[in-house]
């Protein structure tokens, strides 16, 4: 097992490099084109990329790192984690009890139909300006996909697995930990991915209206003061942040659901 394992790993690494090159050439080319095309620009709205990157380095690796980036990341993580845990926890309870599900369904459908930005005025009234408002907006706006997917995933348990857990007298906690949650895993993660994307959107939007720091505040403020390179730089940082968050999330998903990839691979090839 060890020899084929290592061979496979080294070919995987080779394939990884190839994949990286395959993915990187276009963004790198576009950046280079942007750099060259904007080099001589005197337009107020389209400053040279060099200026933008200079600003990015000065602001975001300098004082902006602690003043704007860290608070944003902190609030985003707090909001995303609370939304995730609340979604999974409530989804588990609602999914396990049909009576509760019947009662909760209309309420959930109503709440999730509210466009999240509409929560901003209410959030401002209830929480004022500051991190708790930003986090609350993320939680109330982004919890729904995880909640709904968890309910669905919990319900989708094969009746024969339920019989197996009963016949072997697993406790409720064991059933949840070893059977229900892993079984719902693929659906929970699909929900979490949407929750993650909404969290990023909502942290920015809520910081724009109700914060005195953070990336959203920085971008809007720079635009209002005609600090255009800052607006560009902030936008780039946001893009990078979202990209990075997604990358980390996919890694985590692959690790947690590694059994599913194997299962799909074997059933898919009919082996």
């Amino acid at each position: 097992m060890s020899t084929p394992g290592t061979t496979r790993r080294s070919t995987e690494r080779g394939a990884g490099t190839r994949l990286f090159l395959l993915r990187a050439w276009l963004p790198a080319g576009l950046l280079a084109a942007w750099w060259l095309a904007s080099a001589a620009s005197t337009s107020l709205y389209f400053p040279p990329l060099q200026t933008i990157l200079e600003t990015l380095r000065q602001d975001w690796l300098g004082p902006g790192f602690a003043e704007h980036l860290l608070p944003s990341i902190g609030k985003f993580l707090a909001g995303f984690l609370i939304a995730s845990l609340a979604g999974i926890g409530l989804g588990l309870i609602i999914g396990m009890y049909p009576a509760l599900r019947a009662a909760a369904e209309p309420i959930i459908q109503f709440l999730r139909s509210l466009p999240p930005p509409v929560l901003l005025p209410l959030g401002l009234l209830l929480f004022g300006i500051g991190p708790s408002m930003n986090i609350a907006i993320i939680v109330f706006g982004a919890v729904w996909p995880t909640l709904l997917n968890t309910i669905d995933g919990v319900r989708s348990l094969d009746p024969q697995l339920t019989e197996m857990t009963r016949s072997y007298r697993l406790t409720r906690a064991q059933k949840i930990r070893y059977v229900i949650l892993p079984n719902a895993g693929p659906q929970i993660f699909a929900g979490l991915r949407t929750t993650l994307q909404m969290s990023i959107i909502l942290i920015v939007v809520s910081e724009m209206v109700a914060s005195t720091n953070g990336i959203g505040y920085y971008v809007l403020n720079s635009q209002q003061t005609f600090a255009v390179p800052q607006t560009w730089a902030g936008t780039l940082v946001l893009g990078l942040l979202g990209y990075l968050a997604n990358l980390i999330f996919i890694r985590l998903e692959r690790y947690v659901l590694r059994w599913q990839a194997g299962l799909l691979a074997t059933t898919g090839s009919g082996a």
Binding site: E163, M164, G185, W259
Partner: protein, 281 residues
């Protein structure tokens, strides 16, 4: 209420040890006038039989005779509409701790997110201390021919190996009785032969009482100390047939015995007549 009783003539049975007839044996599991209806449809119409400690009983019946329903009522997974199951003197109202079920569809009873080892260990968590488990898991995996394969996931194994893993899980739970619901229906013929012999071997090794539900007449006669033949739905016991074939059995010699052929024909005829008398639904 542990009862001891003399078997009536028609329920004569053979002990697991070669040929030694047992007249007095401890009754482990009793089905008393077991009935089950689904809505207006009667599936079980008073099924009545007993299983003694150490016995290997095969339950055969025509398809649609409610074999799985019967097994679920025995396992405490399904509440009967009438009558009762008594296991070790207690009425069965929930799955007993000393009873394990091996389900027909192994691919839906093993957990794909756990390795074979973890699958086997899961039901042991409430029964065995952590330190006791590894040696026991090792030994049951060895017994079912999966020694050293504990780190595989079920989906990395063939159907036959998965069912071996499911049997190992049942054995590791250390039940007094193992209920098997058409466990080899989904594997190919050669694997089935291997698994039949495997079940006979582990039954001996772990001194297990086995109730084996199947629609396969050959399998039933080959494995059993006694065959319980069911009628078609609504189901009752149509006959108890003692299988007095010598132990240990083997696929070639046992099946060449005239007695084997006679028993097989007897069960076959009963099933055929049950089919023709079954209410058409």
């Amino acid at each position: 209420m542990k009862m001891t009783e003399t078997y009536p003539q028609d329920k004569a049975r053979t002990a697991p040890e070669a040929g030694a007839a047992v007249v007095n044996a401890e009754v482990l599991l009793q089905l008393q006038e077991l009935q089950k209806n689904y809505g207006h449809v009667q599936i079980l119409a008073g099924v009545d039989f007993e299983i003694c400690r150490g016995e290997f009983v095969c339950v055969v019946g025509p398809s649609g005779s409610g074999k799985t329903t019967l097994l679920k009522c025995m396992a405490g997974l399904l509440e009967p509409s009438g009558g009762q199951t008594v296991f070790e003197g207690q009425q069965v109202t929930e799955p007993p701790a000393k009873l394990a079920v091996v389900f027909q569809d192994y691919s839906r009873s093993l957990l794909p997110w756990m390795t074979v080892w973890q699958n086997v260990e899961l039901p042991m968590k409430n029964k065995f201390a952590k330190a006791e488990r590894p040696a026991r898991i090792e030994s049951v995996l060895e017994a079912v021919g999966l020694g050293g394969k504990g780190s595989l996931y079920p989906w990395q194994m063939s159907g036959g190996m998965q069912q071996r893993a499911a049997i190992a899980r049942g054995l590791a739970y250390q039940p007094d009785v193992l209920l098997m619901d058409e466990p080899f229906a989904a594997v190919d013929a050669q694997t089935r032969i291997e698994l039949e012999d495997l079940v006979l071997r582990v039954r001996q090794e772990f001194d297990m009482t086995v109730v084996f539900v199947t629609h396969d007449i050959d399998e039933a006669v080959y494995l059993a100390d006694r065959v319980v033949v069911l009628s078609g739905a609504p189901t009752t016991v149509s006959r108890n047939i003692a299988v007095d074939l010598p132990q240990p059995r083997n696929q070639r010699d046992t099946k060449l015995l005239p007695e084997y052929a006679r028993l097989r024909a007897e069960v076959f005829e009963l099933i055929q007549s049950a089919k023709s008398h079954a209410t058409i639904r």
